[in-house]
Amino acid sequence: MKPILNEYFIMLFQADFLRSIGKIYVVAIVSLIVWFGVAWYLLRLERKLKDVENQIKSFKS
């Protein structure tokens, strides 16, 4: 298991990894960035919602 993972990481950090197979990994990274951005925004909303919920809780008690 270990050596395979190791090889995988070596491949990942090779200078030309992102340029291999017609630079398809650039597209993967771009779509991942979009996803992480949206996820970050959702997490922020989550935190805001939690604040509101806490406010309601403290208000009821």
Binding site: K23, V26, V27, I33, V34, D51
Partner: protein, 360 residues
């Protein structure tokens, strides 16, 4: 089953649009193959009078010696057929040309494009060969001639995206990066609509709507900058090439971050929303020349600059349109969805706060 029904009940149509179109965009964006394209040619230069043997390697191609393949060298309207196309492997071939003198003797150097025509469709390499146009001595006789007849090129046989040399597979980023900007502009436009409505009717909800729309637009703008930088690194060579559109994007983000700074710096809640909305209207109108007029006056690495309209036929063919426009709609709806969630949270918060002040 009941639970699933509850999950989707009461969803507005534009939320359905996000849920349905996004998978379509992702699937189409990643699964539809690229058309064939020529990646390299050796030698890269030649002179007239030569009997030359170009070795080309191609991407995503299925060259086969059993099928009829043809090739041309093209210079403006003139083209020269290859004497022979010899297929070495599905991705490699040799093309043999006898090159006569160009009819226009005054041209010293000419950039020729190479077109190869296979049953699957054509592949083009723009400015593939640089040709030195010299007069021939009488001993070399070449039967070929440059002609300007219509080229007989096969139609694209498969459903695929066009191959562009610098971009290769990253042409798919058009579905993930470009709609971010469309969505940002659209969301900002709607925020201006709510700002104006706030100033007319003084309904605090409109102000909160404008605020959350601007927040969602900012998210898209920031993502657009980051993804654009990533794409630029692997096509133009640098993360930030000080291209005019990149600068404009950065400046529009600066202008809108000024909006949040302004709101932070005002203490009175009424002044906060009033002045914030006035600034956002002013800022958006100042943004219009920044986005739509000025970039066209400058040379840019982006397509659609230096006078030509954006997204012409060269940048976006019909196959890509079938995915690109749905992607734009999906991103806009996603922006609205994110903004709406934010707005609802803000609204509840305000209600609680006003309730608390009442009860005290």
């Amino acid at each position: 089953m009941e639970r699933l029904k509850n999950l989707f009940s009461g969803l507005k149509w534009w939320k359905w649009a996000v849920l349905l179109i996004m998978p379509y965009v992702i699937l189409m964006g990643f699964l539809v193959p690229l058309g064939q394209g020529i990646t390299s040619i050796t030698p890269g230069s030649t002179a007239t009078g030569a009997n030359i043997n170009f070795r080309i390697s191609a991407y995503n191609s299925q060259f086969s010696p059993d099928k009829s393949n043809t090739a041309w060298l093209k210079y403006h309207d003139l083209h020269l057929p290859a004497k022979l196309v010899k297929v070495l492997s599905p991705q490699e071939a040799e093309v043999i040309f006898d090159i006569p003198v160009l009819p226009d003797k005054s041209v010293k150097f000419a950039d020729l494009s190479l077109i190869i025509n296979t049953p699957e469709g054509p592949a083009v390499l723009p400015s593939a060969v640089s040709l030195r146009n010299i007069a021939l001595d009488s001993t070399t006789i070449i039967n070929e001639v440059w002609s300007d007849n219509k080229l007989n090129i096969n139609k694209e046989a498969n459903f695929n995206y066009p191959f562009r040399n610098l971009m290769a597979e990253t042409i798919r980023n058009i579905y993930f990066h470009v709609p971010l900007w469309f969505a940002m502009t659209f969301v900002f436009m709607f925020s201006v609509f709510y700002s104006i409505r706030y100033l007319r009717k003084k309904d605090i909800n409109d102000d909160q709507k404008a605020l959350s729309l601007i927040a969602a637009g900012m998210l898209f703008g920031i993502l657009g900058c980051i993804t654009g930088a990533m794409w630029a690194k692997y096509t133009w060579g640098q993360y930030w090439s000080f291209d005019v559109k990149q600068n404009m994007a950065a400046i529009s983000l600066l202008i809108y971050s000024g909006y949040f700074l302004l709101r932070k710096s005002l203490s009175d809640p009424d002044a906060k929303s009033r002045i914030g909305n006035i600034y956002s209207i002013f800022a958006f109108c100042m943004l219009i020349p920044l986005i739509f007029i000025i970039p066209r006056r400058y040379d840019s690495l982006h397509p659609g600059n230096g006078g030509n309209p954006a997204l012409g036929a060269d940048d976006l063919d019909n196959t890509m349109r079938t995915v690109f426009y749905p992607a734009v709609i999906a991103y806009i709806c996603l922006g609205f969805w994110l903004a709406e969630l934010n707005y609802r949270i803000i609204k509840i918060k305000n209600k609680i706060e006003s309730h608390e002040t009442y009860s005290k």
